[in-house]
């Protein structure tokens, strides 16, 4: 029975059905029903009418966007330095950026908050963005580093040969060719930050409530149907960004891990 290769997939199919498809269906089921199991769209409508939901949703988007931009602004130059054979001669530098990942994210975040407290810095949006950038920077660096590292040096040489100054070489050749890496990095930073909740609670002392926290709050308070509806909204948003960015991605140059 193991002759056909497709039979090998059966365990994975079962796993995916039980732990991915079924939960998704459950979320959809809860989102469109009330406490008694009757169909309703009220839970979804609440998202658009309740100011608190919408507000935290937009705050989440804003924080995620800002965090992504910060990570990109820091991560791209770092990736360039790591990928450059002249500037980075040892593997240690790359390790330094990966090393913080070996520590549990929650512990890292709590430690960051404690450091801010120790210095008497008021927890708020600034500390939140700092903590998030610290947590998610490696996810931005790695795909960009990966694509820059694999990029044939002769592209940049060809551009210089045709008369491009170093800045022009970067803007016209290196940057466009590294787009797949940037898209991967943006996705890997934006998606988790938009749905994050623990980090924001710890680093803002719960003064800023992100959408993830609001969803968590619903479940804590046994409002399963409302929580599921909000989770569904988030799911759709994330799904849309994935579809949008993967459509643009060049399949031959993909830098996603």
């Amino acid at each position: 029975m193991f002759k056909k290769r497709s039979t090998w997939a059966i365990p994975y199919v079962i796993f995916m059905a039980l732990f991915v498809v079924l939960p998704l269906l459950l979320i959809a089921f809860y989102a469109f029903t009330d406490g008694t199991g009757h169909f309703t769209v009220k839970n979804l409508m609440n998202f658009f009418t309740d100011g608190k939901f919408l507000n935290s949703f937009f705050v989440s988007l804003e924080v995620a966007l800002e965090n992504t931009l910060i990570c990109l602004a820091i991560g791209y130059p770092v990736a360039m330095i790591l990928a450059s054979k002249d500037l980075n001669k040892s593997a240690v530098t790359a390790l330094l950026f990966i090393l913080p990942m070996w520590i549990n994210a929650l512990m890292r975040t709590m430690a960051t908050a404690e450091i801010f407290n120790a210095f008497g810095i008021q927890l708020g949006k600034g500390t939140l963005l700092f903590g998030m950038a610290y947590d998610y920077l490696p996810f931005m660096i790695y795909p960009i580093y990966n694509i820059l590292n694999k990029m044939d040096a002769s592209y940049a040489e060809a551009a210089a040969d045709l008369g491009a100054k170093p800045a022009t070489v970067f803007l016209k050749v290196t940057l466009p060719l590294s787009m797949p890496g940037i898209i991967s990095g943006v996705m890997m930073v934006f998606m988790p930050t938009v749905s994050t909740f623990a980090i924001s609670e710890i680093l803002t002392n719960n003064t800023i409530q992100l959408f993830g926290s609001v969803i968590q709050e619903q479940f804590y308070n046994m409002m399963w149907n409302q929580g599921a509806a909000l989770a569904l909204v988030m799911l759709i948003i994330i799904g849309l960004t994935t579809v949008f960015s993967s459509g643009k991605e060049d399949e031959t140059q993909g830098g996603l891990i």
């Binding site: 044939d152 002769s154 040489e157 210089a160 040969d161 045709l162 008369g163 050749v173 060719l177 031959t252």
Partner: protein, 464 residues
């Protein structure tokens, strides 16, 4: 021959370059004339691509200067040099279409849009790619990508076009076609082409001038005819075309002895009884059944059909192996007679007739040379610390499979068959060259132990 300085476009003076300990270019001197098709030819690692990258500006030299139209361009970055390069793997920008790839250089120079349009169309026509403007470069075949790469460089009207093994990735048929097209383009445009290749046939077909390089040094500069017919040393003779290279002795002017016979030749000025290298091309040996009219005779060992001709190896009565190309097939095992015309014998001065090493006496019977210790016979009148010259004949260097049996070791870097023995160049890890005559078969890059019998060393003191 004196060249008018005005005709020289690129003048390379005393260029040297090392990567770490490895010297890749060793005091290169070369001028390139305006409008010529010059080829840098050599095996991989000979420094030809490094030289090209230096002209393009991607690499700096450790010493020496490169003059373009009499001006030193060494400090000039690549984007300011009026030269363009066709890269080995094309390096077309995958995010741009054919038109934008070709227009890249012109757009940077802020050329008016109409002029860009006109020039791009013209150059695409030149490379026969007119209908491909909007095509994605990844959808093109290797040959088409190569045309676009050439167009992208030519559209900028460079003073010199640099080509780095541009045809290496194409299949044989396509390569032949592109060779003809490149040659036509060169004649039509009048731009100076500097071409890098390891393919000797390509170099002979395309070039006005060939520069043969090996181990970072220029071996010979000349026209394809010069290089083929009058190679200056055994490396060039072996690298360009097929050849029989054997040891010989110049008896007197116009008389040379090799493979156990005396031949008339056309060379003069070597002196009397001077050891030389003799090159005879396989197509220049006449082979026949008539033994009486022959200069020397032998037995056919192999006979292989090569398309246009047959290639035969013949063992002469004196035991030398010679390669012969002829339109007729002579059966294996048959007795044949052979004849060589005086003009077809190329006599070359030997670069050296024995190994010469410098050493230092460690005691009266130990010597330090080649960065290792060797035993030698007790030397009278020499004491510890004396600097000496050690001469060892090629045939007296003993190569061993077992590295422990040698005083030092090295890798076989160049093998030359000399009719009845092999002449090897062995390079030690410290970069010393040792030349060895042997009947044993070694392969290139074999690591061998080097043993020298004390009795075979001729040691003389170097006087201060």
């Amino acid at each position: 021959m004196k060249v008018d300085p005005k005709d020289i476009i690129i003048d390379i003076q005393h260029i040297s370059k090392a990567f770490g300990d490895k010297v890749v270019l060793d005091d290169i001197n070369l001028y390139i004339k305006k409008g010529e098709f010059l080829t840098l030819l050599g095996p991989s690692g000979c420094g030809k691509t490094t030289m090209l990258r230096m002209i393009a500006g991607f690499l700096g030299a450790d010493s020496g200067v490169i003059l373009l139209d009499g001006k030193d361009i060494s400090p000039m970055p690549p984007h300011e040099r009026p030269l363009n390069t066709v890269f080995q793997k094309y390096a077309l920008f995958p995010h741009l279409d054919v038109y934008d790839n070709v227009a890249f250089g012109l757009k940077l120079k802020k050329t008016p849009k109409e002029e860009i349009d006109q020039r791009v169309k013209k150059v695409l026509k030149l490379v026969s790619m007119s209908d491909y403007e909007d095509r994605d470069v990844n959808s093109l075949s290797g040959g088409q990508q190569q045309r676009i790469a050439i167009a992208r460089a030519l559209v900028n009207q460079p003073k010199v076009l640099l080509l780095d093994e541009p045809l290496a990735a194409l299949d044989l048929k396509m390569r032949k076609d592109m060779q003809i097209e490149l040659k036509e383009m060169h004649e039509k445009l009048g731009i100076t082409f500097v071409y890098v290749t390891h393919d000797q046939e390509e170099a002979l077909t395309l070039s006005d001038t060939i520069v043969v390089m090996n181990e970072g040094k220029i071996q010979q500069i000349g026209t394809p005819m010069d290089i083929y017919n009058e190679p200056v040393n055994s490396f060039v003779a072996d690298f360009i075309g097929e050849s029989n290279i054997v040891n010989g002795t110049m008896i007197c002017d116009r008389k040379v002895e090799f493979i156990g016979h005396e031949f008339d030749c056309v060379d003069e000025g070597f002196g009397e009884n001077v050891p030389v290298d003799v090159v005879v091309r396989p197509e220049d040996i006449y082979i026949m059944n008539n033994l009486d009219a022959a200069q020397f005779t032998g037995t056919v060992q192999t006979c292989i059909f090569k398309g246009v001709h047959y290639e035969m190896t013949v063992i002469t009565k004196e035991g030398y192996e010679v390669m012969i190309q002829d339109y007729n097939c002579f059966e294996v095992g048959s007795e044949v007679g052979m004849l060589i015309k005086p003009a077809d014998i190329q006599v070359m001065k030997k670069e050296r007739i024995c190994n010469t090493f410098e050493g230092e006496m460690l005691s009266d019977s130990r010597i330090w040379m080649l960065d290792a210790e060797f035993d030698c016979e007790p030397q009278e009148g020499l004491s510890k610390g004396d600097m000496v010259k050690v001469e060892v004949p090629f045939g007296k260097i003993d190569l061993r499979d077992n590295l422990d049996e040698g005083s030092t070791d090295g890798s076989v870097s160049f093998i030359l068959y000399k009719g009845n023995h092999y002449h090897l160049t062995v390079i030690t890890p410290e970069g010393h060259h040792i030349y060895v005559d042997t009947n044993d078969v070694w392969d290139k890059n074999d690591i061998v132990g080097i043993h020298i019998d004390p009795a075979d060393m001729k040691i003389t003191k170097i006087s201060e």
